[in-house]
């Protein structure tokens, strides 16, 4: 895979339009509508069962431009959460007892509000997760980031698609593997991933191409052996995440002639048990501009929460959101294939 240096938006790709992405996904030949499949499995309509994860997407700015990015994040993107929206999020959080705040981006750490949000959420007694691309820890401006995260007992979920450079660099950019290894060493040195430290370092593996991830337990064992043996690196758990057929991964699928066969692969692997556990049922996702979504993927397709519920963080009303009807589409096949896929890895 060649490296992509600019976002879809900067390249003025037709896929910048969320409608165009939805149109493409609804027209793939080998894909029956997701809602129909869910009806057969007894999950249409799909309702939320509660909110245990408050996911905040701090924006599209990132120091990397990964080939598969579902956010279309890049250094050229400027959309980031403002101080005011961040404050609304913390106010909303304080009204609830949602136990987990999951912070993502882009590279969320590059948002000037990041540290304030972490500190506030921790002060409210919530578990905080930072979805970290690892290389951000090596930026000169972020030299105190790792100790900051450790000081606030933030759980780190770090992307590392594979334990070898060829595959990782093909997906995430030239030289990223080496930086990821350096960042993992740094995290291990301050206790992250080390048994008994209480500092949690989880890794994310997603396939480097148009195929499904392996069984989570099996690939976790492989990563553990290889990372320890080759680099002396330790971690807590490895999550497998299926590539979603949207944004830059959708572009890759189209360009390589893999779209139809990938959708067929996802549809054939539809698993009712995974459908029952999709993360939108227990997640509320807030966009950089404060709009509310069922998940980060719907956010990228500009599909906000049902119009029967408040749709902006400034109108936050937990009672109205907690059992909301979920907005779905054919991209959702990415969450229900095989062992299922969520921000916390396999579902089944």
């Amino acid at each position: 895979m060649a490296e992509t240096k600019l976002s879809l938006k900067a390249r003025r790709s037709p896929l910048t339009s969320e409608r165009e992405q939805i149109r493409i996904l609804s027209r793939t030949d080998r894909c029956s509508p997701f809602e129909e499949r869910m009806r057969q499995a007894g999950f249409d309509p799909l309702y939320a069962t509660g909110i245990s994860v408050f996911q905040m997407n701090l924006g599209k700015l990132c120091n990397q431009t990964c080939r598969h990015c579902h956010v279309d994040a890049a250094p050229d993107r400027r959309e980031v959460m403002t101080q005011e929206t961040a404050a609304r999020c913390i106010e909303a959080l304080a009204q609830t007892d949602i136990p987990t705040v999951d912070i993502t981006g882009g590279a969320p750490e590059l948002n000037p509000q990041f540290r304030w949000i972490v500190a506030q959420a921790r002060a409210l007694g919530r578990q905080v997760i930072d979805r970290c691309n690892l290389s951000v820890l090596l930026l000169p401006s972020q030299s105190d980031l790792a100790p900051f995260l450790a000081g606030h007992r933030v759980e780190i979920i770090a992307s590392l698609p594979y334990y070898r450079s060829a595959q990782t660099d093909a997906q995430r950019g030239e030289g990223i593997f080496e930086k990821s290894i350096a960042a993992l060493r740094l995290l291990n040195q301050i206790g992250y991933g080390v048994e008994g430290s209480g500092l949690i370092l989880n890794l994310v593996h997603n396939p480097v191409g148009a195929f499904l991830p392996p069984k989570q337990k099996a690939i976790e064992g492989q990563f553990r052996r290889e990372l320890e043996h080759r680099y002396g690196i330790v971690f807590n758990h490895l999550y497998t995440i299926t590539n979603m057929p949207i944004s830059r991964f959708l572009e890759f699928l189209i360009e390589t002639g893999n779209l139809e066969s990938y959708m067929e692969r996802l549809v054939n692997a539809f698993n009712p048990a995974a459908a029952a556990g999709v993360m939108c049922r227990y997640t509320l996702s807030v966009g950089w501009d404060g709009t509310l979504y069922d998940c980060d993927f719907n956010q990228m397709l500009n599909l906000p929460v049902s119009d029967l519920t408040p749709r902006h963080i400034s109108d936050f009303n937990p009672a109205a959101l907690v059992h909301r009807r979920i907005v779905t589409g054919n991209h959702c096949y990415g969450c229900t294939a095989g062992a299922g896929s969520s921000c916390g890895g396999a579902v089944t």
Binding site: Y162, R164, A166, Q167, H205, P207, G209, F211, L212, P213, P214, K215, A218, I219, Q222
Partner: protein
């Protein structure tokens, strides 16, 4: 018929059950049991299957087990080495028969 092989036929493999359901079910039950995790992992079995696919030169199996190997977490370097194992055994099997040639030639020659 423009070709004897059609990529789409791989997905229709189960149609072989239409001719004789009982034998198909026995085969597929055995097949699935063979590839389940045992003393060897599913990943190791997929790599063996990939090598054997090349030895028997079945394009359907090569297609299916390339995807299976990737989905079990193997990489192209490992998969290439597996193909070389098949190649070495095929080549070695030819070459070791050279001893038959040598034996016969030796017997016939002065």
């Amino acid at each position: 018929m423009e070709s004897y092989y059609h990529p789409g036929d791989l997905g229709k493999f189960a149609e072989m059950g239409k001719g004789n359901k009982e034998l198909w079910e026995k085969f597929i039950g055995y097949y699935n049991a063979v590839f389940a995790e045992g003393a060897l992992t599913e990943r190791e079995k997929a790599l063996i299957a990939l090598a054997v696919s090349h030895a028997v030169q079945c394009p359907y199996c090569i297609d299916a087990y390339t995807q299976a190997c990737l989905e079990k977490g193997s990489n192209v370097e490992e998969m290439t080495e597996a193909v070389h194992v098949a190649c070495a055994i095929r080549g070695g099997a030819s070459l070791v028969h050279g001893l038959q040639m040598r034996n016969v030639a030796h017997k016939l020659s002065m």
